[in-house]
Symmetry: C2
Subunit: 330 residues, 2 copies
Amino acid sequence: MTNTTLKLLAQQLQLSISTVSRALKDHPDISTATKEKVHALANSLDYEPNAYAIQLRTQSSKIFGVIVPAIANLFYDSFIAAIEEESRKNGYALMILQSSDNPDNELNNLKIFRQNRVSGVFACLSAHTQNLDVYEKMSERDIPVVFFDIVPKENKYTKVRMADERCAVIAAENIIQRGAKRVLALFGDPALSISQKRKLAFQQFMEKYAPKTHCTYLHTNSSQEAETAFHKHIGKMQKFDTVFAMTDEILIGVMKAIQALNIKVPKEIGVISISNGFIPSLYHPNISYVETSGYELGKLAFVQMLANIKGGKTLSELTVDAKFVEGGSM
Amino acid sequence: MTNTTLKLLAQQLQLSISTVSRALKDHPDISTATKEKVHALANSLDYEPNAYAIQLRTQSSKIFGVIVPAIANLFYDSFIAAIEEESRKNGYALMILQSSDNPDNELNNLKIFRQNRVSGVFACLSAHTQNLDVYEKMSERDIPVVFFDIVPKENKYTKVRMADERCAVIAAENIIQRGAKRVLALFGDPALSISQKRKLAFQQFMEKYAPKTHCTYLHTNSSQEAETAFHKHIGKMQKFDTVFAMTDEILIGVMKAIQALNIKVPKEIGVISISNGFIPSLYHPNISYVETSGYELGKLAFVQMLANIKGGKTLSELTVDAKFVEGGSM
DNA sequence: TCTAAAATTGCAAACGTTTGCGGTAAATTT
DNA sequence: AAATTTACCGCAAACGTTTGCAATTTTAGA
């Protein structure tokens, strides 16, 4: 079946295309009578404006691009869910591409976004992206970019991210408050700035406010690694009374080990992590965690995007605050 | 900065727009010499074809729409990841919208898809969608629809889904093989056909091949409900020696209860579920499960879509097969 | 050298909108 | 009744491509 167009409506009504167009959008120039006629026919013929024609004509697309390392990820999917909601409210649609942490894909995805003339892109850098030229190219095209989560260091970009240092400090506070004597602190890939930031903040805080507490710092790149690391370190020397997991991934490994060894939480060991809350709710007792909500981050990113679109350049780095959520594991 | 267009290239090269257009796509009519010139300038000027103009002209969009109840979902996000991969390989981009299980949103999303003249849509019905007219409308527009996971009953549609009955039967087989005497079987929302199918198949198989095994069937709508149901039923009368969870959601509730009561798996109770594998891997021992891979389903859906686009109508219902994955919980 | 065929390139219409501007008829003011 | 305003509507260009066809140039055949 052929789509109904303005032209078709115009022919059937013996009107000009422009009149039909204006009638459809309640232009004051058009009389109420014709407006009604037009609307009636448009409805009965199921008229749907052709987005491409509009975008071609108006040079603006009502589509946002989103680029994440992976969609299948507890954090990113809630981020996406958030901007999807906001987008719909504001009449935008979303185009989502994943980089799989591969800079080549990243490049390609950005290209697709440019070709589709998206009105803006939400970007999470892939783990080891060095070259930001592609993003420069977006700016040249006047396409605003809001970076989230993994963001570039330079402060000429608009970025939103979690308050990484705050997260680590809040975790440290709670560990101290528990009266921990020996803590095992597990962090992620040491090459990632997020790992560095969190570790640094955590370490400094502990050394300053609880210098007598013995801390062991480890970096692990997967649940597997975390699990085996835990097994290894829990065995030798005195047992830890508290364990801190920087991410869900790490927490998962730790908890498997804890279950395997049948260690009682929180009696024999306290557990605390940084998470968006889903994984911690899987265990009994619920794991206490410092909340980093992908959902909140998404909402924040969206207002930044809107600001960028409306008010020209709004360069800034906003962070969503962290808060402690009591589980029962501390 | 103003985008470079064919017109611009043509002017600078003293060529016609059509020649430039053809040169860029290696049309045999164009001489190698001019082709090279054109490509060179296009590169240096960062020419990027305007997708909207192309789509307007060619009436085809290279975009697929995806509609899911929620992106933030272990099953759907892996489904999405799969079709995203395939799409990229085939030069398509994805437009993803979530229905939040609300038929109104579903309606609206479909509308956006139509307006954007997507080349096809992957749709998962929202839980209680009754009216399929919207999807009929897509067909009228010659937009193929591939339903996945939650699909309509009528067989005039193209659908892919998990082999629900097989899943349930495989689970039942393993339960029988374990020599279970008393099993607690937990299913999801009884209004959903997926729950009905799985329960029916499970029940029939058990009654046929293990009539002496005592089975208790329950429906729960959330992790919470599953958890309390487990607590309630494990308390009174004789303990169950095996529990079957139809979904991840249910498994989560069950496992929380099991942890709380400190019941040993698999010694005191066997656990088996239907899952894509992530949740079962979170526990020690890993939970044995019947695999329903969103990823596989995505791949399958994509070939169906391609078939539909290329070869006209290909109405059929394909299912991705289920297989048992040994954990250590049985 | 002339002609026919082959190799190149350009013209112009079309895709479906939006929108500045000009035009006509009706309503209002003098 | 003439002049002016107001209300309504249509013309046509433009957005950036693609593509059938015609036009031109080059090459080959005789």
